[in-house]
């Protein structure tokens, strides 16, 4: 026995699972890069999915569900950071000062203490040292494989800004990782990966 109203709701739930929840793994990866903590990442994904479901019925046809739900997650993260007074970690640096390098290298110095082996820890630690804007751009591009256009939709900025953020993020990552690799006796990152 089925409620006719419930039939409609069941259809909505099925569509939500098929179009939005299906991105849970990517959302979790992205949330992990934003928060740096598995529990915080899980909470953030759960919050984003709940917000997405509440708004799901009002979506226009042909919505890019993936970019949409990533946008929700990012906005939820930014709201939390602002509430905690951590806005400065969100913004792009206007220049890339060298005196940031020790901070990033400090992170790298502890990166190998985790459970993973190989160079992943160092790369992730270097990622974590980027501003949120650069990190989001490069993670959505390189980890999630999003187009610049989709990333621009998630970040609510022009495609040209995405291009610039990815370029600067990679330059910064190479600086940090090259410095780390040299400290480990390699010539540069290329020889370590």
């Amino acid at each position: 026995m089925v409620w006719s109203g419930a039939r409609k709701r069941a259809q909505i739930e099925r569509e939500f699972m098929a179009h939005v929840f299906v991105h849970a793994e990517g959302l979790y990866r992205y949330a992990l890069r934003l928060t740096g903590q598995p529990q915080s990442a899980e909470d953030l994904v759960q919050d984003a999915l709940a917000r997405a479901f509440d708004a799901f019925e009002r979506l226009r046809p042909n919505t890019n569900h993936r970019a949409w739900v990533f946008t929700i997650l990012r906005n939820a993260f930014i709201s939390t950071q602002r509430r905690l007074g951590r806005e400065q970690e969100l913004e792009d640096p206007t220049i890339l000062p060298d005196d940031d390098a020790p901070t990033a290298l400090d992170r790298l110095a502890h990166a190998g203490d985790g459970y993973r082996h190989g160079f992943e820890d160092e790369v992730l630690a270097a990622l974590q040292a980027l501003s949120e804007q650069q990190r989001t751009a490069v993670v959505l591009c390189d980890v999630e494989g999003m187009s610049y256009e989709d990333i621009a939709a998630v970040m609510a900025c022009p495609v040209g800004t995405v291009r610039s953020r990815i370029h600067h993020a990679r330059r910064r990552l190479r600086e940090v990782l090259d410095a780390y690799a040299r400290g480990k006796g390699y010539g540069r990152l290329d020889e370590a990966v």
Partner: protein
């Protein structure tokens, strides 16, 4: 800016496949002639791969996936409960307005089986017993008892009589254009239409199965053809007298 600087500022976009075709051609031409820039390209490609490998090195743990799914199911259940609660009074209000309007405009003596019924708070289960009751209403039962009795329980938004031509001769699913209150076109050849708010109706398993597979539930009860169909947020029950002389006209 030197050509190499310009090229290097575009290497990321080249690696990501985000350059316009003409830009790509120009950059690749430079790369074929500049060893340093070509080395930069290789380094950018390696970094991209390293980022992808590192970024995907922590898969979503099964336990986390399970908790996320459970949280969504809880959210779904809460939304269902909220929807039911918010809709509970809407049909009542709609029915009150409709019933008041119908009865105010009702022209004296009521035709057979043409009594509008009010809604009871409990949802109506559209099973064989209720369909039989609707057939009885169609055949004149409630009109004899008066509207007060009819108002006791059924979740009818409207219950009306329509001309026989309302049913398509091919027996297709009836198309409900609007709810209206037409007189019956004569004994033995009338049709009644009950329109339910779908949120207020439960479907029996046989009706539900028929709607799922054929889009319409069709049954003959006491010489009355009963058609149940679903459209949007309404359930339509069309009751039509079968011509006793020509059963093939069903």
């Amino acid at each position: 800016m030197k050509p190499c600087d310009t090229v290097r500022s575009l290497l990321s976009a080249l690696v990501d496949g985000e350059l316009a075709p003409l830009e790509s051609i120009a950059i690749r031409r430079h790369l074929s002639q500049c060893e340093a820039c070509h080395a930069e390209l290789r380094a950018t490609e390696r970094l991209k791969v390293a980022l992808h490998v590192a970024g995907t090195s922590e898969p979503l743990p099964d336990e986390t996936a399970g908790r996320l799914e459970a949280a969504m199911q809880a959210r779904f259940a809460a939304a269902r409960a909220e929807a039911r609660a918010s809709r509970r009074w809407l049909p009542l209000a709609a029915a009150a307005v409709l019933t008041a309007g119908v009865w105010a405009a009702w022209p004296g003596e009521h035709a057979r089986g043409s009594a509008p019924l009010a809604i009871a708070p409990a949802p109506l289960t559209l099973d064989d017993a209720v369909l039989a009751r609707l057939v009885a209403v169609h055949q004149g039962g409630p009109s004899k008892a008066g509207p007060a009795r009819a108002a006791l329980r059924d979740a009818l938004v409207a219950f009306e009589r329509l001309p026989g031509s309302f049913i398509t001769p091919e027996g297709e699913r009836p198309r409900v254009v609007q709810v209206s209150y037409a007189d019956c076109d004569g004994p033995g050849n009338g049709s009644s239409l009950a329109v339910f708010s779908a949120d207020r109706v439960r479907l029996s398993s046989s009706v539900d199965a028929a709607l799922d597979t054929k889009g319409v539930f069709l049954e003959v009860v006491d010489g009355v053809e009963v058609r149940v169909s679903l459209s949007g947020d309404k359930v339509f029950v069309l009751l039509s007298d079968i011509d006793p002389i020509d059963p093939s006209s069903i």
